[in-house]
């Protein structure tokens, strides 16, 4: 059974399209049947709608006529007409009585005429009241209205259409006590109904008002309408039924349908015309449905024919595809063959190129291997920083074996003293510039840290792509150690371990900046031990030192963690209360006083100085500093003055900087004004202090500013430089001094005795920060004609605190024209190897503060030695300033071949004096003369 079904279905398969077409044909017949029935329903609905419209139009006209008739009835029954007849019955004459009633009727009629409207137009043309004899007693209306003639004495209200005059006349009887006494007539224009008769979209009328005899009353413009000629036939149409006008002999009406709707209560009717399109729109006629059915059958026949053609075409296409496939296979074989030939040629060329490259690489590798086995540690990494190789020096340095290092990254021996940002910056530099160098702490396998100067270089291939990085670690541990030692010596007092004057001043400066931001007060307490000199002189320095240590401890216990206790010098201590946490001076003063009193209390107990018990008291001077205060020296002076005030008041006490001391501040203001004036008038001078070499030969001089004040005599830089700084005059002052020095240099060049001399001049940090400093110096040299090779600029370390790169750039530019650089005050500030190595310096200067106590203070001696050692390692010359004694000279000379400056070799001299001095040093004299001169001068200075 199943197999027969399968066979049957297989036999049908080739005829599937014919079967589908048959099914389609059946469904089309079904759909067409449905279409026919729905179209018929639509046509019936359209007919019903037309009948409904016609009836509605007839009802509207009927309503209008009815309204006119009711108005006539209403007027006929008005009170005014009733009054008229009452008074008439009383016998009153029109002249002496009825005139009032007629006036009232007239007024009412006029009001009705004026007020009643239909679709915005006056509803009436005329209103009239007739008596029983048909005489018009009241006649209201437009003078253009047709003259009325009474319609008789109607017993009932009626409507009449005057077709000729196109009027609608409504009349109603006037009844009084059951008797007909007269009549009221209203007259309206037939044209009022014109708006009820509609037109089609083209403006052609499609509704008509017909009289009973077939006269076309509306629309107004009807003369050209074919309806007029056939009015009688149309009026005879059966009412309420839609009829075709095909049997009328009017070609214009061919294809039109007509509906006549009678108007109730009259013999009028409304005729509505509509074409089939208007009425039925897009509905299909039965003939159209028949054609659609026929079309479906034809479509079926075509489908059968196309199916046969398709089968033939499919057989032909299969043959065509088979033929194409054979041809494509042949082409593919040919292509593969030619590609194989090209590949083999390329391999041959590549082998030849690689052979040549190998020869070149071998030569380079031999050079690299030699460099790689240098004394400095070196590693080679890939582009991701993974170590590929390390030399013996690096293996020895880190303690790791080669096997342990290879495959690791530099993180293995990082000291974790730098943050991620540092390393990110480092690698950014490497990637952008191809290299980086800087100091780096390296951690060995045993955990030790050693300072190294790391240089990273990128290795690129022929295509310019980075293939490897080489890291070289130079040993700078000794330099680092020296740097740290210098820093420690520079900022802390070796005896008490307290911050020294330098660090204190720095912290005060920081506090001032911070308080400016916070708007709060701080205070400085200047503490001086009473009678300390007596103790020192009587019991010796050792005991004095013991006291200083204990005093330092006690003071330190009296202050807060954030406060700074510094040894300012000798027996002077300064306490910095950086932030008193208040914006009110009075509260700040109370807090400062409380701490001051606490410090005084700490001295109540005697000090145990082995083997003595020593009572010691301090004198404390206090000054507050407000957010507006900016000058550190000024504050220290205030505190110092207050301390002296405390001493004057009997020691062991505390005094604030008071208004009396303000007078001194005022004096300073006066000094500032004088400085400004004298600077403007170029009254400031330069004195020149000789600088000699290790054999006592005159090398040049340091130019030192001097201010010959009109009243105070010669004022020294230590006094007026701070004033210039606070008054913003440091830049004009610096420029002026540089100009004077260059003029002098130019002057010296003309004299054989001085032509070889150099001039060193101090340039402040502020000057260096000027954007156009280099241009300024060049301009001055050009204007004065000075030899730049004879000019030496002395910089202080404070110049280098910020924006070192900018300073280096400027120094490089000036150095390019021959100007030399000396670093002044080295060791007193932020001595740092990191910039020292980068600066294009010629000379380091040992500060006079170290030289002064070089023989008595081992710290100072050690600093001096460090500076000398550092200079040697960096290849710089050294000059010691403030050399005043033979002993100092002898000590320094024992450290190496230095240059010197100080009273031992000459005081600062006015230019003329210095030139005489130089002539005495002239190289034209014999070395014996020179030596003698020096010896004589030395002796002279000693005297």
């Amino acid at each position: 059974m199943q197999s027969s079904l399968i066979r049957f279905s297989r036999s049908l398969a080739p005829h599937w399209l014919s079967i589908a077409a048959g099914a389609f044909l059946l469904s089309m017949f079904f759909l067409i049947g449905n279409l026919y029935s729905s179209q018929m329903e639509l046509r019936q609905n359209a007919d019903a709608r037309l009948v409904s419209i016609g009836e509605a139009r007839a009802a509207e006209i009927s309503d209008f006529l009815s309204a006119r008739q009711q108005a006539a009835v209403r007027l006929a029954g008005s009170e005014d007409i009733a009054n008229y007849f009452s008074n008439l019955d009383l016998g009153m004459s029109v002249r002496y009585g009825l005139f009032a009633n007629l006036a009232a009727i007239e007024r009412r009629f006029q009001a009705t005429l004026d007020e009643e409207k239909y679709q915005g137009q006056l509803a009436y043309l005329q209103l009239a009241f007739f008596d029983r004899n048909g005489i018009a007693q009241v006649d209201v209306g437009a003078s253009s209205a047709p003259t009325l003639s009474p319609t008789g004495n109607p017993a009932e209200p009626s409507i009449q259409i005057d077709e000729k005059r196109r009027l609608i006349v409504a009349s109603a009887p006037v009844l009084q006590k059951g008797t007909m006494r007269g009549a009221v007539e209203t007259v309206s224009s037939l044209n009022l109904l014109a708006s009820l008769v509609s037109t089609n979209d083209l403006g052609q009328p499609n509704e008509f008002l017909l009289g009973d005899d077939g006269d076309v009353l509306l629309p107004v413009e009807r003369e050209r309408s074919p309806i007029v000629a056939h009015g009688r036939a149309l009026a005879a149409l059966q009412s309420g039924r839609i009829q075709a006008l095909s049997n009328l002999e009017a070609p214009e009406l061919k294809g039109y349908l007509a509906l006549r709707s009678p108007i109730g209560g009259t013999r009028l009717s409304v005729l509505r015309l509509a074409s089939e399109d208007e009425l039925y729109g897009n509905t299909l006629s039965p003939v159209s449905v028949f054609y659609i059915g026929l079309f479906a059958i034809i479509l079926f026949g075509l489908a059968i024919g196309f199916e046969r053609m398709r089968q033939n075409a499919a057989r032909l296409q299969i043959k065509f595809i088979e033929s194409n496939r054979h041809r494509a296979e042949l082409a593919e074989h040919n292509l593969a063959l030619s590609q194989e030939i090209e590949r083999r040629e390329a391999i041959e060329t590549d082998l030849q190129r690689q052979s040549e490259a190998l020869d070149k690489t071998n030569a380079e590798l031999r050079i690299a291997a030699a460099a790689f086995n240098a004394q400095e540690g070196m590693i080679v990494t890939d582009t991701k920083g993974v170590i590929l190789s390390a030399n013996r020096a690096f293996v020895s340095l880190t303690g790791y074996t080669m096997e342990e290092l290879v495959g690791q990254t530099a993180r293995l021996f990082r000291a974790h003293r730098r943050d991620a940002e540092f390393y990110q910056s480092m690698w950014n530099s490497v990637k952008s510039t191809g290299g980086w160098q800087g100091d780096m702490s390296l951690r060995t396998k045993s955990g030790e840290h050693c300072a190294r100067w790391l240089t990273i270089s990128a290795v690129k291939n022929e295509a310019g792509e980075v293939t490897n990085y080489i890291g070289s670690y130079y040993d700078i541990s000794k330099l680092k150690h020296a740097e740290e030692k210098i820093r420690e010596l520079a900022f802390f007092d070796q005896l008490t371990g307290l911050p020294n004057r330098v660090l204190l001043i720095d912290r005060v400066r920081q506090a001032l900046n911070s308080n400016t931001r916070n708007k709060s007060f701080g205070a400085l307490l200047f503490i001086d031990l009473d009678n300390f000199k007596t103790l020192n002189d009587s019991l010796g320095h050792d005991v004095g030192d013991q006291l200083l240590k204990k005093v330092a401890q006690r003071i330190s216990h009296c202050v807060r963690a954030d406060d700074t206790v510094a040894r300012f010098g000798g027996d002077e201590f300064v306490v910095l209360l950086a932030n008193l946490g208040t914006q009110e001076a009075k509260a700040a003063a109370l807090q400062a006083e409380a701490i001051g009193e606490k410090i005084l209390s700490a001295f109540v107990e005697t000090f145990q100085l082995d083997p003595y018990e020593y009572p010691c008291t301090p004198s404390v001077g206090v000054t507050l500093f407000s957010p507006e205060d900016r000058n550190v020296d000024e504050l220290l002076k205030r505190a110092d003055l207050a301390m002296y005030d405390a001493k004057t008041a009997g020691r062991n006490g505390l005094r604030f900087f008071d208004p009396v001391m303000q007078t001194m501040i005022s004096a300073r203001a006066s000094l500032e004004a004088d400085l400004r004036e004298d600077l403007k008038k170029e009254r400031l001078l330069l004195h020149y202090q000789p600088q000699v070499d290790h054999e006592g030969r005159l090398l040049g001089a340091e130019a030192l500013a001097r201010w010959p004040h009109a009243e105070r005599g010669l004022v020294f830089p230590s006094e007026f430089i701070p004033v210039a700084e606070s008054a913003g005059l440091i830049l004009p002052l610096g420029a002026s001094m540089l100009k004077i020095a260059c003029r002098r240099l130019a002057h010296w060049s003309a004299d054989p005795a001085t032509e070889h001399l150099t001039v060193a001049i101090n340039v402040s940090a502020l000057q260096m920060r000027q954007k156009n400093f280099v241009e300024q110096v060049r301009a001055i040299i050009e204007q004065t004609g000075a030899d730049p090779h004879r000019l030496k600029i002395e910089l202080t370390e404070s110049t280098l605190v910020s924006n070192v790169d900018d300073v280096i750039t400027k120094m490089d530019k000036l150095k390019a024209i021959g100007i030399g650089f000396s670093l002044d005050d080295f060791g007193t500030g932020y001595s740092s190897l990191s910039y020292l190595k980068r600066l294009p310096l010629d000379q380091l200067k040992i500060d006079r503060s170290f030289v002064k106590d070089i023989l008595v203070d081992p710290n100072d001696a050690a600093i001096a030695q460090m500076i000398i050692a550092l200079s040697k390692s960096l290849g710089l010359s050294v000059i010691a300033e403030g050399v005043e004694t033979d002993e100092q000279y002898a000590f320094l000379a024992s450290q190496g071949q230095l240059n010197y400056q100080g009273y031992l070799f000459g005081r600062p001299l006015p230019p003329e004096d210095f030139e005489r001095f130089a002539r005495a040093f002239s190289p034209r004299r014999s070395s014996r003369q020179e030596r003698l001169f020096v010896d004589r001068d030395v002796r002279m200075k000693r005297l």
Binding site: N87, L90, A104
Partner: protein, 297 residues
């Protein structure tokens, strides 16, 4: 002789009036300076309705606006109206008119359907006629008297009407336009009953219907209203008087005010404002006096 006495009396009265009230006289200039015109009105028909409007009220309001002053209505009655204007009482005796006493002047102008009568013209300045009037004889509807048939002329109509009175009582109101003295009805044997319960002419018809008299006199303006108000209850028998004129009255010493009013009246007649006011308050009167209104149309 009678008329001579009236003239002399009128002149002496006027002189006395001028002498006494000269300080009170308010002509146009003073009224403008004061900024207000006081209109003396009597509640009478639709001239001054008592509800704040009326033909004369609107006329005077328009006049006040024309001369740029504010308007004030002062109510009075027919007995006091001249006294309120002139500050003097009017005494008519034996055909003579005299002004006596001193009273407060309450207004500047009388405008209230005020009939122009000779004795009044002796002591007042009248404007141009504002409205015509006439006095009619009215009877209840059930009276056996019939309205007269229209005669050949007005004199014949008046004679027929007076003849119809016979011995019947007639209700009149002295010192008003219904004063029988004005129409020669006194001392001719008629039974005249003076209505003195009030000075309101509107009450004449109700009083007659209340059988206080068999007939009553009624002026045309009132008749127009009453024929509608009492339709079927009264009938007009005929005329008692000839045509009268109603006008606005001013003190003798206010000629400028009167002249300005005449100019105003002329202007509103020309503009149609006057006709609209007449139709508003007296519809139908134009039918009664077609010749008067024919002039203004």
């Amino acid at each position: 002789m009678l008329s001579k006495r009236i003239v002399l009396g009128s002149l002496s009265g006027a002189m006395a009036f001028l002498f006494v009230t000269s300080s009170w006289a308010a002509d146009l200039a003073e009224i403008k300076q004061r900024g207000e015109i006081r209109h003396i009105g009597i509640r009478y028909a639709n001239f001054v309705t008592g509800a704040g409007d009326g033909l004369d009220v609107e006329l005077m309001q328009g006049f006040a606006k024309r001369i740029g002053v504010s308007y004030k209505l002062v109510y009075s009655d027919f007995y006091s109206v001249i006294r309120d204007l002139l500050g003097k009482d009017v005494v008519r005796k034996d055909g003579e008119v005299t002004l006596t006493g001193d009273y407060p002047v309450k207004g500047d102008v009388i405008s209230t359907g005020f009939t122009m009568l000779p004795w009044r013209e002796a002591i007042l300045l009248y404007s141009d006629p504002v409205l015509p009037s006439q006095v009619l004889l009215v009877a209840p509807a059930e009276s056996e008297l019939q309205p007269i048939q229209d005669g050949v002329d007005l004199a014949a109509d008046i004679a027929n009407t007076r003849k119809a009175i016979g011995s019947r009582s007639v209700l009149v109101m002295e010192r008003t336009c219904l004063d029988p003295t004005n129409y020669g009805l006194v001392n001719v044997g008629l039974d005249l009953k003076s209505y003195n319960k009030s000075a309101n002419l509107n009450e004449m018809v109700p009083a007659m219907l209340n059988q206080e008299a068999e007939l009553t006199l009624l002026d045309v303006p009132d008749a127009i209203l009453d024929l509608r108000k009492w339709a079927g209850r009264i009938k007009i028998l005929g005329p008692i008087s000839g045509r009268q004129m109603l006008a606005t009255a001013f003190p003798k010493d206010a000629p400028a005010l009167r002249d300005e009013f005449n100019a105003y009246l002329s202007d509103i007649k020309a503009s149609g404002v006057y006709d609209r006011l007449v139709d508003k308050y007296y519809p139908g009167i134009r039918r009664f006096f077609p010749e008067f209104f024919a002039k203004t149309d």
